[in-house]
């Protein structure tokens, strides 16, 4: 952490910024281990990190196999929230009428606890992947809409006027001005959305599924198998990080011009 900024060692600095989160992680794990030893916390309350790592190592094939369904459900739910969220945000931002009808209802729907209604999807769609996707979609949808609406609305009206004065068609003006302008906001919404979609998929697996990390989690709670439960949590966290990182990469590729991407600022990932 306390590395010196030796001149010319740019690559070293880059490594260091990659390393930092891991260093912190190592410190947390060490602290965790020490806390268990010092305070004598019994293994049925919090497992030792060593035990969790052991489970991760021995049960790896099983855990990996179980993380695919969760990943699929997360990705499909996330894609659905992007595919539906962005056009709806366009409509809301584009028309006062649509906004006045739809937006309050959307906010209202957010106060319904998804966990409570998730069993309903199982009743409707059975124990397959569909209820999980819906749960992931429902959690990921709202942040996309809110951010995208804000992005579409914050475009400088003079900029739109300028494009209109050039006699561009509505669609052309939208694609050339409004959409690129909204992209940074859309991406920040997508980043929140993708991590929430993981939560949604797990909620779906909690209430009715016989596969996925959520299922592993629930089963291990039932049998007080804490090391396995913690291993499942680690995998969920990893899944969230990887998906977030992917969206972040796509963002860098899509909006290299944006303030947050300029120079060598280190963000996210």
């Amino acid at each position: 952490m306390s590395e010196k900024k030796a001149p010319g060692s740019v690559s070293k600095l880059l490594n260091a910024s990659w390393l930092r989160p891991f260093l912190l992680l190592v410190m947390i794990v060490v602290g965790w281990d020490l806390a268990i030893r010092i305070f004598g916390i019994p293994a049925y309350q919090i497992p030792a990190p060593g035990d969790v790592v052991k489970v991760l190592y021995t049960d790896w094939p099983e855990l990996l196999a179980q993380s695919w369904p969760t990943t699929y459900a997360t990705l499909l739910g996330f894609l659905a929230s992007a595919v539906f969220g962005i056009p709806i945000a366009m409509l809301i931002a584009g028309s006062r009428t649509v906004e006045s009808y739809v937006y309050p209802l959307l906010v209202f729907s957010q106060s319904i606890p998804k966990v409570a209604i998730a069993p309903l999807f199982v009743v409707w769609f059975g124990f397959g992947i569909v209820p999980k996707i819906i749960a992931a979609f429902l959690l990921g949808f709202f942040p996309v809409v809110v951010s995208a609406v804000q992005g579409f609305k914050s475009v400088d009206p003079d900029m739109v006027d300028l494009a209109r004065a050039m006699k561009g068609s509505r669609l052309r003006v939208f694609c050339a001005v409004n959409l690129p302008h909204a992209l940074p906001a859309i991406f920040s919404g997508l980043k929140v959305s993708v991590t929430l979609a993981v939560v949604g998929a797990v909620v779906g697996e909690f209430v009715g599924s016989n596969s996925g990390i959520g299922y592993v989690l629930q089963r291990s709670i039932g049998t007080f198998d804490l090391p396995t439960m913690f291993a499942a949590l680690v995998i969920l966290a990893l899944l969230g990080v990887i998906l977030f990182w992917l969206v972040d990469r796509i963002e860098r590729f899509a909006i290299p011009w944006h303030v947050s991407q300029r120079a060598d600022v280190f963000i996210g990932s």
Partner: protein
């Protein structure tokens, strides 16, 4: 009403300082014509009158400059004429056609450069071409030539944030010129430039207008700039903006910076300045 105001501001016009008389038999078939155009913004907390009813005419190929105090409605006037705003009353005709929506053959430079941050300078300049769906290949040489003219050669591939404010504004002037519009409307285009570059740009703009015969409507805060460039200068009153006077500038079309020491020039500058120095109108 405006006619009354005009006569109010006349004091024995000398030979070269005359207020333009009411041209009654004006043909509306060419140029830009405003009759009784006013604008009141309806904001949430009451209404803001921005422009009093205005009547004036801009001839084809004329360099028409508007000066006026800040907030008197100059930018509003430009948006009305370009068809981006609808007037509260009155009608605007461009080449005999009533303005109800943006009309294509116009290049606009707004008060801010308004470059798209995701396009490089060359692509920003080519934006009107994209909007009109014209062939890019045909216009790229022209875009590069224009950038060279305003001293931005070599910056084609840069993004707007890598340029200074004045450089961005110059790029936005190129953007307004790239499709060779018949009418140019410029809202304080040189506000962000230093005095030297500003004078250079003035000479360049004057040359462009002479050689291409474009109709140019320019808004500025600088009275010398207005007189140097204009065929006619419209002086506006405080908010809500009305016409204080319209002056002819009999300096001839070929103008170099030497024109600025011409007595006609200095007299006219002094005279326009008086509109803003005294609170009451000239009488």
């Amino acid at each position: 009403m405006t006619a009354a105001m005009r006569t109010m501001s006349v004091d024995q016009p000398s030979a070269h300082l005359r207020v333009v008389s009411e041209q009654s038999a004006q043909s509306k078939a060419s140029g830009i014509n405003l009759s009784g155009v006013s604008k009141t913004y309806g904001t949430g907390d009451g209404q803001v009158q921005s422009l009093r009813p205005l009547d004036f005419h801009i001839n084809d190929g004329e360099f028409f400059v508007v000066v006026g105090p800040s907030g008197c409605g100059k930018s509003t006037l430009l948006k009305l004429i370009s068809g981006l705003l609808a007037p509260t009353s009155g009608e605007i005709h461009v080449d005999g056609k009533k303005v109800t929506e943006p009309h294509g053959d116009v290049g606009i430079v707004f008060q801010n450069a308004l470059l798209l941050p995701w396009r490089n300078i060359l692509n920003n300049v080519l934006m009107p071409i994209d909007m009109k769906n014209l062939s890019r290949e045909k216009y790229i040489p022209r875009a590069k030539e224009l950038l060279k003219m305003v001293g931005l050669e070599g910056f084609e591939k840069k993004l707007p944030w890598q340029l200074s404010g004045g450089m961005q504004q110059r790029a936005s002037i190129c953007r307004a010129l790239v499709h060779d519009p018949k009418i140019m409307m410029m809202d304080e285009p040189f506000g962000a430039l230093d005095a030297m570059t500003r004078e250079k740009m003035n000479v360049e703009l004057s040359r462009i207008q002479r050689t291409t015969g474009k109709t140019i409507l320019l808004i500025t805060h600088s009275i010398p700039e207005a007189v140097f460039l204009a065929d006619k200068v419209l002086v506006m009153t405080e908010r809500p903006g009305g016409i204080a006077a319209i002056y002819d500038v009999p300096l001839g079309r070929e103008r170099t910076l030497d024109a600025m020491s011409n007595p006609i020039f200095t007299d006219l500058v002094a005279r326009i300045r008086k509109h803003f120095m005294t609170n009451s109108a000239l009488d």
